[in-house]
Subunit: 154 residues, 4 copies
């Protein structure tokens, strides 16, 4: 099924490149009357996992300070739903930086179930913008390195 997803070139290597994940459990209030996880909720999971990802790199802590001059802004988001997800399921939501731009980063997501089935995948571009001007603020070299950490290790 991953073959049909436009932003996934090679499913096997695409999966292997993920390292960071955020664990979570599907809440009752996140289901809907069709008996499964409502399809708007994975975007909340992406946000939660993305923030934990940025926290792990030390970015988020600065962005949420009231005096911070930059905030991260989501330019776009998408999700492909591969399997139904049900109340109480324990999921791992993986995040990786697929491509780092001047002031943006393309993040990819993968949600997996306890049996390792992939239930949804996604992607989206984040941009670091200035609160004042609303324009993109370039990553520092340090930030770039942290975002591309894995690649640079190679």
């Amino acid at each position: 099924m991953l073959n049909r997803v436009a932003y996934i070139n090679e499913p096997e290597s695409w999966k292997e490149e993920f390292e960071f994940y955020h664990p979570l459990t599907v809440r009752f209030s996140e289901t809907d009357m069709f008996g499964h996880l409502n399809n708007t909720v994975p975007f909340t999971y992406f946000e939660e996992a993305r923030i934990e990802f940025f926290k792990s790199k030390g970015f988020m802590q600065d962005w949420v300070k009231p005096e911070s001059e930059q905030i991260p802004v989501v330019a776009d988001l998408q999700c492909d739903f591969l399997q139904q997800v049900f109340f109480g399921e324990a999921l791992k939501v993986f995040v990786k930086a697929a491509k780092v731009g001047t002031s943006s980063v393309d993040l990819h997501y993968m949600g997996i179930k306890q049996n390792d089935d992939i239930c949804f995948v996604g992607r989206g571009t984040m941009v670091q913008i200035s609160k004042k001007t609303g324009k993109g603020v370039p990553w520092t070299e340090e930030m770039k390195q942290k975002l591309g950490m894995r690649a640079s290790v190679k």
Copy 2:
């Protein structure tokens, strides 16, 4: 059923005192796997109706200005669920100021269905606090009058 609700003295007059209402339709994403409106959602409806109530009195517009020195804070909230509510139902959520304090107001809520059945009722105290000190800021005479408008007409 209203007889059993502690904050309702006389069901008939309690119902009649409502004037303001906010209309809304139950969203699909607000249902849960039991097939009905999830019980956390009426609190969102209360918030929405309360804000429209405050807008109708000209309060909300000031509170959301970044330069505003006061914000409204919810001290407590409660809801009694009298009937199940389903996807797509059109509800009216009524709001009234049941009691006006120095810097607070006790708001009551009533949700009714299209057949006029009451599906949920609720209440909660709001306090106008100072952003700086976190302490209550007394209502102006004008605000008090607007909150108690109906009573003062009597």
Copy 3:
């Protein structure tokens, strides 16, 4: 900005093809600490608008019946965020069937502000599946016609 969105060929004709829209107002609980509409919420708006779109065609009423053998399932969803949206803004969320498949339909979305600025656009494929088998159930001719109503009028 629409030029950069992969699923929009010609921005002008793309915009003009929309007819159906669902009006809504941004709730307070839908904002986040960055002061604007949280980016997970437009997907809820898409759902709400999509359901109203399907209601207008008479599809939704059947799908939510417990005895219905088919339900609509979202295969994928995406959103491009073009402008910040704030508390209390009145939006129109437009929906159209961009392409009708055997048992699926590709829906496009456009959110506009009161000044006619486009604040977000999106798309996603819905599939009508069998509750029992989980497989796609072809649209009837009548359904196809209703989905493509506009095109067929030309």
Copy 4:
């Protein structure tokens, strides 16, 4: 502050009687433009903690089976907000059965911060009802014992 809460008789013993808790972290999407946790969200936390509480007793697993003849229904819910809660805070949400009725149970809740400050408290009655008749279904002796486990140990 707990002295002012109607359903708390003796704050100290009330706090001490809690044993079960569910840990969680405040999501970014759960904040609002006032910069803190939106006040509708603790009810979602109560639901999540309540379900984990019932899971720990083996009740929830049966209720969510499609063939189950009983479901739990929330009769009422309330929350007192004692302290602001912010993005990223790690909370413990405690739950206890304060009083067990024939087919109902009065649950109490307490949310605490990492510094042990109580940020919100709450309560609400749950009723086990029959899916068919909508009427209360008495707890079995075994269920009663499990709900009142702590008391019965004394």
